[in-house]
């Protein structure tokens, strides 16, 4: 089986500083993969490089077609949704407008309307607040909104950057349960970057561990979770 997303020898730079030092990994269609690593390891940079939001070299292929040279919005239009760190909520707009924005590239009006209803089924709290300014939502609600907004694209691949950041544990569990459901039922391939390694490894089927811009370990999520080094460094027991 060929990979849906294939990343080879990815190097990324912020000005003169190199943040990624030749990263390679692949995502299979329908998989739920997690990218683990400490602060500053290059997780966010990896996601940003996929969407061409940072200067990078190397090859990134989506369905066999190279992403290099495409603008961020053109990468997104291929069906790659990116939930950025900090959620990227359009705070001055209503919840419903945020969802409409997620589908702004789609032409099927009826589909968009029914998808908004579907999102309200996934996240009932958003329905309650659909006319409210998104900036007034709590952190957890904004994260739900960000995921819902990304799904409005009907993406084939969804990239999530630390969705658990700043959220209460209970809310994180809820969110991860929904992510698992989306992955299974809607067949959306998911790549989630996390610092909360324990939860991420429970959820994912594949895992990569990244340290100072390099992949240091990869494999089945369960195997990684049982690895002694990982347990000591990331799981803390």
């Amino acid at each position: 089986m060929t990979a849906m997303l294939n990343v080879k020898d990815l190097r990324a730079y912020y000005g003169q500083v190199q943040a990624l030092h030749g990263l390679s990994f692949a995502l299979n269609e329908g998989s739920l993969t997690t990218l683990l690593g400490a602060n500053g390891a290059g997780k966010t940079t990896t996601l940003r490089a996929i969407c061409n939001m940072v200067r990078s070299t190397g090859a990134i292929e989506f369905d066999g077609a190279p992403l290099a040279g495409r603008s961020t919005e053109n990468v997104v239009r291929l069906g790659i949704a990116h939930v950025p760190q900090g959620r990227g909520t359009f705070t001055t707009m209503t919840v419903e407008e945020n969802l409409q924005l997620g589908a702004i590239t789609r032409k099927d009006k009826a589909g968009v309307v029914s998808d908004i209803e579907r999102m309200y089924d996934h996240f009932p709290v958003l329905k309650q607040r659909h006319t409210q300014q998104a900036g007034t939502l709590s952190g957890g609600e904004q994260q739900m909104l960000a995921v819902a907004r990304a799904l409005m694209l009907r993406p084939r691949l969804m990239l999530l950057d630390e969705p658990s950041f700043g959220l209460a544990p209970l809310i994180v569990r809820d969110l991860f349960r929904i992510l698992g459901k989306i992955n299974r039922e809607d067949k959306v391939t998911i790549l989630v970057v996390e610092q909360n390694a324990q939860l991420a490894l429970e959820l994912a089927d594949q895992a990569y561990v990244i340290e100072t811009g390099r992949i240091v370990m990869s494999g089945n999520a369960k195997d990684i979770a049982n690895n002694e080094d990982v347990r000591k460094s990331y799981l803390g027991y």
Binding site: T72, E73, P84, F90, T105
Partner: protein, 292 residues
């Protein structure tokens, strides 16, 4: 009392023009965080274009619509050619760019149509409006056209896909790109619309201030004052600011001794500085927090 009512109505009429200019300034400010110091000159040039078309025998409203289209296209061309490459340049470079544009347009208008003052027609006439001495038909027309424009813009931004995309691109460009919006073209579109809105202001005020290359100098300063008063991040605020500033200008000129036409510009200056110092975000704008 009649003098008061009269001045307020006259203030609303010129305020409508300031509102248009302020709105044009805010549209570009929202898109690129810069003040277009050449907004007035762009409007002046558009007004000359419409005048030229009328000289060639095109009727007023035909020239009006053609000028809107010309201005819209012109705004986009200016952005693509001159300001898109400056997107990441320091503020100073951008200010220099706007100043250069100001100088070029002013000078070219003078070269083509020379610096003499020209009469500009009004389609509304200048008889008393509905038999009332309070306001002329042209002033009523200025208010009417502006209100119509504002309603159209409101519907555009609130209920169309492109309007929504433009708002998103202006408020959070990175997030907008992540939902697939081509933010670069949204900026160009903002420029086009700003240029078109400015041209309406120019064509409506030209019968009052007469047509000449420096006609928009004072109007632009009041447009800036209006935008600052309403808040540079709020289009609605800019419009309200425009009307407020227009009324304020007229009342100050009538009731404060020593303030006549000759202190028009210093008043705008005082207004701008006062608002910027006392309430930098304006009446309706959002406060800005600088990231270190």
């Amino acid at each position: 009392m009649e003098l008061f009512t009269n001045q307020v109505l006259a203030g609303i009429a010129t305020g409508a023009i300031y509102a248009c200019m302020a709105l044009a300034v805010v549209m570009i400010y929202q898109a690129i965080d810069h003040l277009n110091f050449a907004q007035g000159e762009m409007a002046m040039f558009s007004t000359f274009i419409s005048w030229q078309m009328m000289q060639w025998g095109i009727p007023y409203w035909g020239a009006f619509v053609l000028t809107l289209a010309f201005s819209f296209a012109g705004g986009i061309v200016i952005e693509r050619l001159l300001f898109k490459p400056l997107a990441k340049a320091p503020i100073l470079t951008n200010v220099a760019g706007f100043i250069a544009l100001f100088a070029i347009i002013n000078s070219v208008a003078g070269l083509i149509w020379d610096f003499t003052i020209k009469q500009y027609p009004t389609p509304f006439g200048s008889s008393p409006f509905l038999g009332s001495q309070l306001i002329s038909t042209h002033q009523a027309g200025m208010i009417g056209v502006t209100v119509l424009l504002l309603i159209l813009l409101f519907f555009f931004f609130q209920y169309t896909r492109i309007g929504l995309a433009m708002r998103a691109a202006a408020s959070l460009p990175e997030s907008a790109r992540l939902v697939g919006i081509n933010t670069s073209w949204m900026i160009a579109l903002g420029w086009g619309m700003a240029a078109a809105i400015g041209s309406i202001a120019g064509m409506l005020i030209a019968p009052v201030v007469f047509l000449e290359p420096n006609m928009m100098g004072g109007v632009l300063i009041y447009g800036f004052a209006a935008a600052v008063l309403g808040g540079l991040t709020s289009p609605l605020g800019a419009v309200i600011g425009g009307f407020l500033v227009g009324i304020f200008e007229n009342l100050a000129g009538t009731y404060i001794p020593g303030v006549g036409n000759e202190l028009k510009l210093p008043i705008a200056l005082a207004l701008i500085i006062t608002v910027l110092v006392v309430k930098p975000a304006g009446l309706f704008g959002r406060p800005i927090v600088k990231r270190v």
